[in-house]
Amino acid sequence: MKMVKTTLAVFATAAALGASTFVQAGATLDAVKKKGFVQCGISDGLPGFSYADDKGNYLGLDVDVCRAMAAALFGDASKVRYSPLTAKERFTALQSGEVDVLSRNTTWTSSRDASLGLNFTGVNYYDGQGFLVNKKLGVTSAKQLDGATVCIQAGTTTELNASDYFRANGMSFTPITYDTSDESAKSLESGRCDVLTSDQSQLYAQRIKLGSPDDYVVLPEVISKEPLGPVVRHGDDEWFDIVKWSLYAMINAEELGITSANVEEMAKTTKNPDAARLLGMEGEYGKELNLPKDWAVQIVKQVGNYGESFSRNVGAGSELKIERGLNALWNNGGLQYAPPVR
């Protein structure tokens, strides 16, 4: 049971915190190098972001961040082990050291950053909360949802945003909260709730999992900012840097036109100084991060750049067909912007 898992995680946290006498910077990196794989916390099944295909391989935008880290660290993107976590379990699992990094469509908020002892390393998907309703209700705007019963996943920012939205608009609602998104979807289908609310990306993903997706429609309103990104524990800056720059390498690669197809060629021939620095031809930027010289080459070769990953998992090349929108590069009208390597 989930509860058992949470409780165990809490005991593990308590035990770990009680037994270890000091926290050491760099401890996570050393431990990861020693065991030879990255333990990555992902969702309990969200198409496009982190889910297992019919062969049991994990795929998705969030999974690609973990794979990029493994590629940078070990030169092998497959050296990742995954822990599927519910929204309720995720932070305890990270705090207790059960996972090294949490890459699980987690919203960056001030209180999570400050009081949970966590650090958000960046944003790999800019999202916003929306509503999914049955067409039969004839609702065309979230403003018409007064008195509705709303299905929500427990322990998320979504729970708080929904309350804020209904309160701000002087409407009432009844929340029904479930541990997993599958339970919420089942409830929506059975009519237990009128509306399912979640991040828009999740709504598209859940819609295609429903029995008859065409009967459901995502309402136009976006009621919150949901910057989703990978998370690590406080107090280990080396590890924080590696997670952060694994993601930035993918974004920079897209900006510089480096793809999985041309990366090896470019790593030998490029005249662009930015690309030369990223791909390890110039300078010791990998070493400074405690990574091999060809860290970015391995990331792009094995995982692809950000655009490739986006397209393959959630964009045009996937079932979800989500537009780049806010997630386009900054020079393309979006928000994705990575600091330079130099």
Partner: protein, 394 residues
Amino acid sequence: MQTAAKAPRLKGSIWTDPKARAWIFQLVAIVVVVALGWFLYNNTMINLEKRGITTGFAFLNNTAGFGIAQHLVEYTETDSYGRVFLIGLLNTLLVSVIGIVMATLLGFILGIARLAPNWLISRLATVYIETFRNIPPLLQILFWYFAVMLSLPGPRQSLGIFDNFYLNSRGLYIPAPGVSQVFGLFLAALAVSIVIIVVLARWARARREATGQIFPVVLTSIGILLLVPGLAILVAGSPVEWTAPKLTGFNFTGGWVLIPELIALTLALTMYTAAFIAEIVRAGIQSVSHGQTEAASSLGLPPGRTLRLVIIPQALRVIIPPLTSQYLNLAKNSSLAAAIGYPEMVSLFAGTVLNQTGQAIEVIAITMSVYLAISISISMLMNWYNKRIALIER
């Protein structure tokens, strides 16, 4: 021991004194346990602080900011986590109390039915018991919730009963009672009938002790209870005004609603625990030897009185201790509600609140203390009752 303690102690040989030695060992043990506890606590605090994780119970005063489906006391999103805790606690107690009462009733009926001379009744009871106590409670909860409650039609196709009760996938909607103007008169009538019954019972008892004649107190009391307040209603009108639920917009409004999570959980826990209680009741009744029944018959007691005055009081002594365990199990099993989203202690407090605040250690500690407190209360109550009905040897 006596001689050893009295023996003159040699100076400096405290180890040769068994009494002193025992004291020293126990002191050392206590010191070690306390030191270990302090070490663990202190280390946890230091490390939590080092990792920048907030500690302490101040979060209970912070604004919760999320909605709750079922709250027995007033609640809005702007209330504190402390209030959320209270709501979770009340929801847990609600399920536990309803479950315990219903499981006890059903369990006693089934237990007696299993011993019934009628072949069909006893076999039906056996089948029920063997089915329900051998399926894990979580599966039963999921069955009642997903397979039964959520398969009901939506609000607009509700199953209406007398145009006042509506059953749909959102729950059971029932008319809500409200106090009307003549409620005082009704209460007065009720009080009068209770006084009459008390007087009657005393008179009947005195007469029985004096003459041995029996007066049917229970039947007469029911008659009085129906007659006097009934007359008041006939004269003055209904003491209660009912507000029937009405379909408006998405949902029914007005009236009371029993949410499907509550119904599914209560049904599952009741039926599961009743199967165990039935077996306990059967064992208790069978533990009273048949000689007792024969003795009662030879004294001329009719079968009903034999059961009530001879068998059940003796059976209860065997029934109560294991029954306590079943009550404890039921209260603790109510935490399985987290699986279907009923907002009780575990899903609300140890779930949502834990996640929104991130203070796992505090929240889990509070939750565990709550279950401990509930269980100990049930235990103490049942032990007190057990003592009261225990065989008093004279």
